[in-house]
């Protein structure tokens, strides 16, 4: 029996009605009576000492309510922003986490660093007053490039981090790798730059703080992917308010891609200021501020080497990376180039030994943290560019080289040399189905046709793997995580049979209100329109760790299933009582409870009603039908697949046209195929953006951000992209009850390597991202 709108159906999204009619509630759409407006004075310098801040003229300006500086926050005992994942260096020392004040106290370390917070009756008055603040800066020489920052003689950004080094980390067996390399028939080498990106969710960050002097409760409405985590950090580390007096609400959030995970200076300052002036305060970033202050992504410099034998088998892999952390350590920044990167360097391949070392350092740039994929796109980019390079060195077809070295479908569980245990997959199947989709064997003929038309044609493959649903809590704790990575849910029946589901996951475009409702519809037979999914409010949802790392369904969905299991267990007892049968004889399917071997049955709705009107009810059972569950995963999940890109390049202009894109992804079981396809489209588009168009650029000398608007930072537009042909294979995840793996980041992980391999294949030369037409033209015309 299947259920309408159940698991596996492309149900049209419940949340869309409000979005397509303009009735969404994004942060900046909200206002409070008596609200004042906040605006930040930001540093115009990349690196400077502050000797004095004169607020007198600004405070006298029309409409100004109050102006705060870092000194005011410090005097009030408010702590600095924190990094929640501790990394240990090779020599056993903990990573360096220099002070990160919400507003500067004595120095600024990147353009856009907060200096003062001006609160006025109107936003315009706040902006005007900000211009009247006089700051005495003593400018210092900045450094923005990670290789230069880690070189000797570089400007010293924090006295707590000598040589600008945050950590020097390693993973794997160096001696085994060195031995394998010394005896290898072939060694292939590659140098790569993984470009710095600005996440750019279309809704800029915003905050609205409110203080209730009567109850002493503070409420922060904010653009967050994880409101409970924000509350925890603001309470435990910054001392904004005790957790029980702090409510954090993330209403409709217009995209995140990682950038709204973090606890930032602006949100923190806004809620603190609301209490100080006892008035609601609202701050909304403009796009320029988003470019200056939303945590950036990637920014790695890497050298990698692969040892192979005469038969084309991989013997060992060696990787050395420098990672730019920016001016301060953001909330989860330290984990991205280490446990989310080094641990994925085995890719889909059987590699006997791997060694990776990562030096992370500080620069005078915006902090860098997790951005869609977080460490895994960087790993896939290194592994998959390396595979193409090695295949080329060996004179093999790149897909044949990969197929020869894949972990085989009967090898699970498979332990990699970099501490992961892959649980399921069929990598040859994904690759072969992608090759078939794009007619890989017909490429030579298409290339000849392009050449006849004066064009270069290339084909590129990326066989990616990612680790999603970061888990289990004890394991990540042993690697330095400061939090548990479980999820919680409550499934609450109302007496009339409708259901409210509370989830600690957060939707900012993913469609949880539909996907999670499908699970309830399927398992409990409730019509989908009678299921309401509530998320994003610490006063409603029991607890939560939020949404990132493609964890919502694998972890949050599993918590819902656990709560559903408790509902079913209780319902069986009620059904047995009402139908005068023994509990063991009650059978359940999709919300219908029947007595085995009879035609007696009751629906979930009837049982829920009986639980709230318990006139005829088991004596030893509590009334009510609401169950809570926490779910801590047993393992990561391992989505994997193959993407193949085909490009045609005009050698006269260097312009790259993507002529075809195919994807064969293994996400395990799928709840809503329409939503999954959409996630892949969006992920690929961001990956194509990284490979062709996007790149954050700082001026080397002044440290000024040169790509601070949509005039300068090239976002992918509709006419930059092709249609994507996507498909899925399915090896169910064995470690969670839904058998799901996660799909939100796959496209962004696979796409850059596939596209760059295609471009390198077309032009016969290595180039770095973004492959702008100028860069491609120069490469074609270089010797």
């Amino acid at each position: 029996m299947s259920v309408e709108n159940g698991i596996g159906a492309s149900v049209r999204r419940k949340e869309d009605q409000r979005f397509i009619t303009g009735n969404g509630h994004y942060l900046d759409d909200m206002n409070r009576a008596g609200q004042a407006y906040g605006y930040f004075l930001r540093s115009p310098h990349a690196f400077a000492k502050i000797s004095n801040i004169d607020l007198s003229a600004a405070k006298a300006a029309p409409g100004v309510v109050e102006i705060f500086t870092g000194a005011d926050m410090a005097a009030d005992g408010i702590g600095g922003l924190i990094c929640g994942w501790g990394i240990t260096s090779k020599d056993g020392t903990p990573h360096k986490a220099p002070p990160h004040n919400s507003m500067a106290v004595d120095a600024v370390r990147h353009v856009g660093d907060q200096v003062a917070f001006v609160i006025a009756e109107t936003l315009q008055q706040a902006k005007d007053a900000t211009e009247l603040i006089e700051v005495d800066y003593e400018t210092l020489t900045p450094v923005t490039n990670i290789a230069k920052a880690l070189a000797s003689g570089a400007p010293q950004i924090h006295e707590e981090a000598p040589g600008n080094l945050c950590y020097d980390w390693e993973l794997g067996d160096k001696a085994a790798v060195d031995a394998a390399f010394s005896g290898a028939a072939h060694v292939s080498k590659i140098d790569l730059i993984n470009n710095r990106l600005s996440p750019n969710p279309m809704e800029p960050r915003a905050a609205l703080g409110e203080f209730d002097a009567g109850s002493g409760e503070l409420t922060l409405y904010t653009t967050s992917q994880n409101p409970h985590v924000a509350r925890l950090i603001m309470s435990a580390f910054l001392g904004i308010a005790p957790e029980n007096k702090l409510r954090v609400v993330a209403p409709d959030v217009g995209g995140g891609f990682g950038s709204k995970i973090f606890v930032y200076a602006e949100e923190t300052t806004t809620i603190w200021a609301a209490k100080k002036i006892n008035r609601p305060v609202k701050w909304t970033a403009d796009r320029s501020e988003a470019f200056l202050t939303d945590a950036h992504g990637r920014d790695h410099v890497t050298h990698a080497e692969l040892a192979t034998d005469n038969d084309g088998k991989i013997l060992a892999f060696r990787v050395s990376t420098q990672a730019n952390m920016g001016a301060y350590l953001s909330t989860f920044a330290s984990a991205v180039p280490t446990y989310l990167y080094g641990t994925l360097l085995s890719g889909q391949y059987k590699i006997p030994s791997i060694y990776v070392e990562v030096q992370a350092g500080f620069t005078n740039t915006t902090p860098v943290d997790a951005y869609r994929g977080a460490g895994r796109p960087e790993a896939t980019y290194v592994v998959e560019r390396m595979m193409d390079t090695a295949a080329r060195d060996l004179g093999m077809d790149p897909t044949e080289f990969r197929l020869k070295n894949f972990i085989q479908p009967d090898a699970y569980p498979y332990e990699t040399p970099v501490i992961m245990t892959y649980d399921s997959g069929d990598y040859p199947l994904s690759m072969n189905s992608a090759k078939e989709m794009i007619d890989y064997d017909g490429f030579a003929a298409r290339k000849a046709q392009s050449e006849a038309n004066g064009k270069l044609r290339g084909i590129g493959t990326a066989a990616y793997i990612e680790a999603c649903g970061i888990a289990p809590s004890a394991a990540v704790g042993s690697l330095g995580a400061g939090v548990g990575l479980w999820e919680s849910a409550e499934v609450r029946f109302n007496p009339t049979g409708s259901v409210t589901v509370f989830t600690g996951s957060h939707s900012h475009g993913q469609g949880h209100e539909t996907t999670f409702a499908q699970i309830i519809s399927d398992k409990l037979g409730v019509p989908i329109e009678s299921v309401e999914v509530v998320h994003g409010d610490t006063s409603k949802v029991p607890f939560g760790m939020g949404t990132y790392g493609s964890r919502s369904l694998a972890v949050g969905g599993s918590a819902i299933v656990k709560a559903v299991d408790k509902i079913v267990e209780k319902s069986k007892k009620i059904a047995a009582h009402l139908m005068e049968a023994s509990v063991e004889d009650i059978e359940h399917e999709h919300g219908v409870f029947s007595v085995a071997g009879t035609d007696k049955k009751l629906t979930m709705g009837e049982i829920a009603f009986a639980a709230y009107v318990p006139h005829n009810y088991p004596a030893d059972l509590e009334p009510g039908m609401a169950e809570n569950a926490f779910y801590d995963p047993l393992n990561f999940t391992f989505p994997a697949g193959t993407h193949i890109a085909e490009v045609e390049i005009d050698p006269a202009t260097g312009d790259v046209e993507i002529v075809d894109w195919v994807a064969s992804d293994d996400f395990g079981n799928i709840i809503n195929p329409m939503i999954v396809d959409g996630q892949v489209h969006g992920g690929v588009a961001q990956g194509v953006g990284q490979a062709l168009l996007e790149g954050v650029i700082y001026d080397d000398e002044s440290g000024q951000l040169l790509t601070g608007s949509y005039m300068d930072y090239c976002m992918p537009r509709a006419d930059n992209l092709p249609n994507f042909r996507v498909s899925t294979t399915n090896t169910p995840c064995p470690s969670n009850p839904l058998g799901v793996k996660g799909c939100g980041e796959a496209g962004a992980i696979a796409a850059p390597a596939a596209l760059m391999n295609a471009i390198v294949n077309a032009i016969g030369k290595d180039i770095d991202m973004p492959a702008t037409s100028e860069k491609v033209w120069r490469a074609i015309n270089s010797n």
């Binding site: 049209r12 999204r13 949340e15 869309d16 009605q17 409000r18 979005f19 397509i20 009619t21 303009g22 009735n23 969404g24 509630h25 994004y26 900046d28 759409d29 315009q124 750019n200 969710p201 279309m202 809704e203 800029p204 409709d252 959030v253 217009g254 995209g255 891609f257 403009d286 796009r287 320029s288 900012h508 475009g509 993913q510 469609g511 329409m674 939503i675 396809d677 959409g678 489209h681 969006g682 992920g683 690929v684 588009a685 961001q686 608007s709 949509y710 005039m711 976002m715 992918p716 537009r717 509709a718 006419d719 992209l721 249609n723 994507f724 496209g747």
Partner: protein, 155 residues
């Protein structure tokens, strides 16, 4: 302060506003029609697209006083008598939105593009939507939605 009067979603509205008030600020702050969004500060993203006298415009590039006497339609005025406009219905049917933030502007631009190009090719749709940025969908399903809507708009 200066006085403006215009018709918004079929209703006449008047207000005294600062002369430098942008049309998008007037719509969001004065009229509390918050379906029109602001996603950038350089008139690039298109989240603020509305119709002024039938043409799509970015409401962040126009002063409210320039719309004095005009007939303005926002996303809230697109559905008629509770019935979705075919473009709105197509975006839902074809999963043309994810986070929803760019969606109102995208839909308003798309309605105008189909009005000017009754049977648009995929290439035309992609070129015409160049002024509206979406970070979620990769545009694949937006293009599909616009194409489907154009077939239902009697084009």
């Amino acid at each position: 302060m200066t006085s403006v009067t215009m018709t918004v979603n079929g209703k006449q509205v008047s207000a005294d506003i600062a002369p430098n008030t942008l049309l998008v600020q007037f719509i969001r702050d004065n009229l509390r029609l918050t379906g029109t969004h602001v996603g950038c500060d350089t008139s690039q993203c298109g989240a603020c697209t509305v119709h002024v006298d039938g043409d799509s415009i970015k409401a962040c590039t126009m002063l409210a006083v320039q719309a004095d006497g005009a007939d303005v339609t926002t996303i809230e005025g697109l559905a008629k008598n509770g019935e979705l406009h075919p473009m709105q219905a197509a975006f839902r049917e074809h999963h043309g939105l994810q986070c929803g933030f760019c969606t109102p502007g995208m839909i308003m631009s798309a309605v105008d593009l189909v009005k000017r190009n009754p049977n648009p090719s995929e290439e035309t749709i992609r070129t015409e939507l160049e002024g509206n940025i979406c970070r979620c969908t990769g545009y694949h399903n937006i293009v599909k939605s616009v194409k489907a809507a154009s077939e239902n708009m009697g084009g």
